[in-house]
Symmetry: C2
Subunit: 638 residues, 2 copies
């Protein structure tokens, strides 16, 4: 007879069937909405099935409301949908097995646990002893023999601590404090002769090292923990969310162990109905004689059902039916084929098609038109697992013609696997060997490159926070390789500035004197957003930048203007305040024509004003044209 160990003080004993108040506001499922209605439909459909029988090997299990029924779905990001008796407590029973197995794996390591418990489906009912005839190992951790062995492997400084560690581990999965049901535990302990026999057999075979009474007692306790359907759904969602509880954000299990536990649930979780379950439901799952079933769609959601009438395999009748219905209706089968692998490349274009926002002079524009197709930007999206990375790499390897610069924009990428990182690094090295420089747009360091290398020989290349800066880097590579070797734009006098070009020499000179010269340091504010019309600004030397705050919270440049260009016309002509901040991007020297002087020019020198306006209009249309072209190239089918 298993001993009743002293219960730690922390273990509160709720009355059986008592409604347990959930913690946290997230836990109230929406009562309306598209998804809530689908759950309701499945619930109503299954509610009519009153076949099956209550477990009756102990009186407590036979004493529950036989019609009680709850159905709950929790997404991997913590949204909960449910119908029915979501907060009715019942004992977890065999659904505890994968969680204790997980704790044993975490405590002892996968290899040490594998020496004691195999992972093969037994093809036999859960009460079979099923030890391997050669190794004496239990066939898997989902049958009682394997579960008792797993319970024996949990570490702790004494028996009470070892159980408490199991309980706390379940709590991390559920996101709230779970308690032992003392009545059920006492009954299990009083009548569990068969499990005690299994414990002694395992001890005899050397599979269990500790006192078999303690191992079996721990197993009885873990099976007697009270949970609700809602708890089970969150536990399932925690497995779906790679081991992190989506409500508390606490990690309950490492990702590799999640994979191991879900694998064993897949082949062994539904005992001798595992094959039928995989075929018709297709979700890793576990059922318990308490009437619960838990099922997991990795990465997406968890499902829980509570209905205590059981079928011949010891699983909830309505539970099996509801899981089957949900899987069919919602398309949850884990072998359901998707095309996710094919959507890795979102767009691919050259810098000739989508230039940077640095305004270029005509000579540079001509070079970029001619050679710009040698610098390409490739935008990736979706998860970058092997298949996604394979299509991305293949697409780049299939680019024909000379490639001198390549930018991979990974901002829209989701999950990135280690193999994808390696494949992209290999690709970078391969391209670098062919003389093509590679950069990333990766502000969140998804590929792990936290620093941008300035060394052109470093195959890791540059990392940019936005596509615009990367496009300018591409353009610079093209201009350096194909343009005449030249220094930066020479500084201009006002009279030399293109805005005054073509005027008769005397008028040029007269107008030039009307301008005031200003010099600003790098980073200094030239004109603030919201300023009233402040004059016509000619850039004599250096660069200015208009910038805006984007949806990603970062400041991005709208456009950079350099020597020989002008700004302030919009505000002057429309008599409207400046729409963006303008900062000096380098030390900059400006010539400014005051608004008053600009206005009076019409009467005093109409032909000068015509010439000036024509040049400004040309610049404006050039700017509009560039913006529209960028929109067409980027937006594609906007």
């Amino acid at each position: 007879m298993a001993r009743l160990l002293d219960l730690p003080d922390s273990v509160y004993i709720p009355r059986y069937g008592e409604r347990v108040a959930p913690t946290g506001e997230h836990l109230t499922p929406p009562s309306s909405g598209v998804v809530a209605r689908i759950i309701d439909e499945v619930y109503e459909l299954c509610r009519g099935d009153t076949s099956g029988a209550l477990a009756d090997y102990i009186p407590e299990l036979a004493a529950v409301q036989p019609d009680s029924f709850a159905l709950c779905l929790a997404t991997a990001d913590g949204q909960v949908y449910g119908s029915g008796d979501l907060d009715t407590a019942f004992t977890i029973q065999s659904i505890s097995k994968p969680f204790t197995y997980a704790l044993a794996l975490a405590d002892r390591g996968t290899a040490a646990v594998a020496e004691r418990i195999d992972v093969e489906p037994s093809g036999e009912p859960f009460f079979e002893i099923s030890l391997d005839p050669t190794t004496q190992r239990p066939r898997n951790p989902m049958i009682n023999a394997g579960a008792i062995t797993a319970a024996s492997l949990v570490t702790g400084h004494d028996a009470a601590d070892r159980f408490e560690r199991i309980r706390r581990s379940y709590c991390r999965f559920a996101g709230r404090d779970l308690r032992l049901n003392a009545d059920v535990y006492a009954s299990e302990a009083r009548t569990g002769y068969r499990n005690l026999a299994i414990g002694y057999l395992l001890r005899g075979a050397g599979i269990i090292d500790i006192d078999p009474d303690e191992a079996v007692d721990r197993y009885f306790r873990q099976c007697s923990i009270d949970i609700t359907c809602r708890d089970l759904a969150i536990m399932a969602a925690t497995l779906a969310n790679n081991g992190v509880n989506p409500l508390t954000h606490e990690r309950a299990l490492t990702a590799p162990l999640v994979e191991q536990v879900l694998s064993v649930m897949t082949t062994c979780g539904m005992y001798d109905a595992a094959g039928d379950w995989v075929t018709t439901v297709g979700l890793p799952a576990k059922s318990g004689v308490g009437g619960g079933i838990l099922a997991v769609l990795p990465g997406q959601l968890g499902i829980a059902v509570y209905s205590p009438r059981l079928d011949a395999h010891g699983s909830s009748v309505r539970g099996v039916k509801a899981c089957r219905e949900l899987s069919n209706r919602l398309g949850l089968h884990f072998l359901h084929v998707t095309r996710a692998a094919h959507t890795a490349i979102r767009a691919s274009y050259s810098v000739a098609e989508a230039p940077s926002r640095l305004r270029r002079d005509p000579e540079e524009l001509a070079l970029l038109r001619q050679f710009g197709d040698r610098a390409r930007m490739v935008e990736l999206n979706g998860d970058l697992l092997f298949a996604g990375a394979e299509s991305a790499v293949r697409a780049v390897e299939e680019i024909t013609g000379d490639l001198e610069a390549l930018v991979l924009d990974v901002r829209e990428v989701g999950d990135v696997s280690a193999i994808a990182v390696r494949m992209l690094e290999d690709l970078q090295a391969e391209l670098a060997a062919d003389g093509c420089r590679v950069a990333l747009v990766d502000p969140d360091a998804k590929l792990g490159h936290l620093e941008s290398s300035l060394d052109p020989a470093d195959p890791r290349g540059r990392v940019f926070i936005d596509r615009d800066t990367a496009a300018e880097w591409c353009e610079q590579i093209i201009l350096e390789r194909h343009g005449p070797h030249r220094t930066a734009h020479a500084a201009l006098t006002v009279a030399d500035h293109p805005a005054l070009a073509g005027l008769p020499a005397d008028e040029q000179h007269r107008l030039a004197q009307e301008f005031e010269i200003r010099t600003l340091a790098r980073g200094e504010l030239v004109v603030a957003k919201g300023s009233p019309r402040a004059g016509l600004f000619l850039i004599l030397d250096g660069r200015v930048r208009m910038s805006f705050a984007a949806r990603d919270g970062r400041r991005h440049r709208l456009i950079s203007l350099s020597t020989g260009m002008s700004f302030g016309e919009i505000s002057m002509l429309l008599d409207e305040p400046f729409t963006h901040d303008i900062h000096a991007e380098t030390t900059v020297r400006l010539a400014v024509l005051s608004p008053k002087r600009f206005d009076t020019l019409t009467e005093q020198a109409p032909e000068v004003k015509v010439a000036l306006l024509e040049r400004l209009a040309v610049a404006a249309y050039g700017q509009a044209d560039a913006a529209v072209r960028a929109l067409a190239a980027h937006g594609g089918a906007y």
Copy 2:
């Protein structure tokens, strides 16, 4: 003794071990590249393992090159990577089982097959007879008893035709003509006493209806079909590609049966090592004593290995090792958690943030600034399975504030499940009941709405081919609900046109006379792309549209201009040809000022020209500003 049935003439018998020439150019794997190198690495790693023994129950299987080794990976879109003896022929053996099972399912239906063959893992070696003690059904189709039963269920007008149907079915999976290896078949047939015993037992139990000799003979034949490692990879990729051969694009199996077959492979494909395989490799798979292994990652890729030395379970030693290595390195475990569910919403913004390309007048612009946040566009991407649709629906349901128009842009969406369609329809109906009209941008009818409903009461709403037209539809709803009731813009005279506004009356009148009036029908070309400067065009009545051909092959509008607006200035001022076609969007009346008249205006009436240029520059900057704002709103962090 199984009878040697007459072979159909079509069955060519290659010599055993002969290199079989592949068909089609797609089939030559790339010898270099990032992925090819990874495959090579795994190949080299596994090559050193020479443990295991050749199958020797018939002399032909023991006569192969024991060191022969091939590793091949084929993606679901038909890219093939491989190393080693990819074109060496070997017999398919037990890897035939899932394919004949698939054909039986297609011929007889899932329910009829389930009456004869269960889908439960047996936990026993492949040669076990494993009939269910109650129903007498073989435990699953992957053990010999189940495979012989599946072969007995294939339909055809005689025994030869039934085998020929099996062979042709395999050919559809492989994408080339596969042949029977007569030597192996003859040996199998001569020595297959145990399988004959199984056949007679099955006939005795009533599981097989036909002559058991015929069923077992067919099974021997299917096991003796010669394939190569490359063939197996394509067969696996066909399963990965939802049953469609990625090279021939021929459907080999329906999608629901693919799911059924992969489910059974998951739990039973690797016999008594199924649990270990699911845990460490995590791919539905099947091995054969010929030395082949086939594994499938649904939706993504197929893997095949050939190496004839077998382990104790009858599976290729190097094959198991290579699959384990590939799965680990490439992250292929089918329970590997991805975040795919969370990336369904790509962007969400109001029409105030991203207006349509119809240029609006100031009154309309003011209304759209005030109420434009009541019309929202939501761009979705990724696969729209349940979890993706759930997050999309939730995001829309969580939009606060009055919503009067909603556009769902599904152009970047991949696979769409039936449940996602239903959920989006439910959402439309829900929003329609609250007075919000819903439209789709869905040029490819991914959601199955082939026609755009013009009935405002139809909850299916409108379907647009691009976002721009949908945005204009949203704006129209806002303007109709919140603007003063008004008819279309009244037609203008030249003198009333804003381009001439503010000029002294006599000059206005004088200039107006210089314009020529033209009327064009809807759809008529106004100016062709590439035309030289053709004058200044004022729109007196109607609308014109500039359009461009986008990357999706469709024509999209760049911008629409309406009564009171002008065009042609860019070409006039820059002296450059028109960059886009301009068509009449409605019947349109235009006033045109010839280039010559425009040019001479400077000397004759400089103050008129200044006034005109100022107005044109204002229009140009307005256009530039709108384009830049659209770019910022749409591109976000461009």
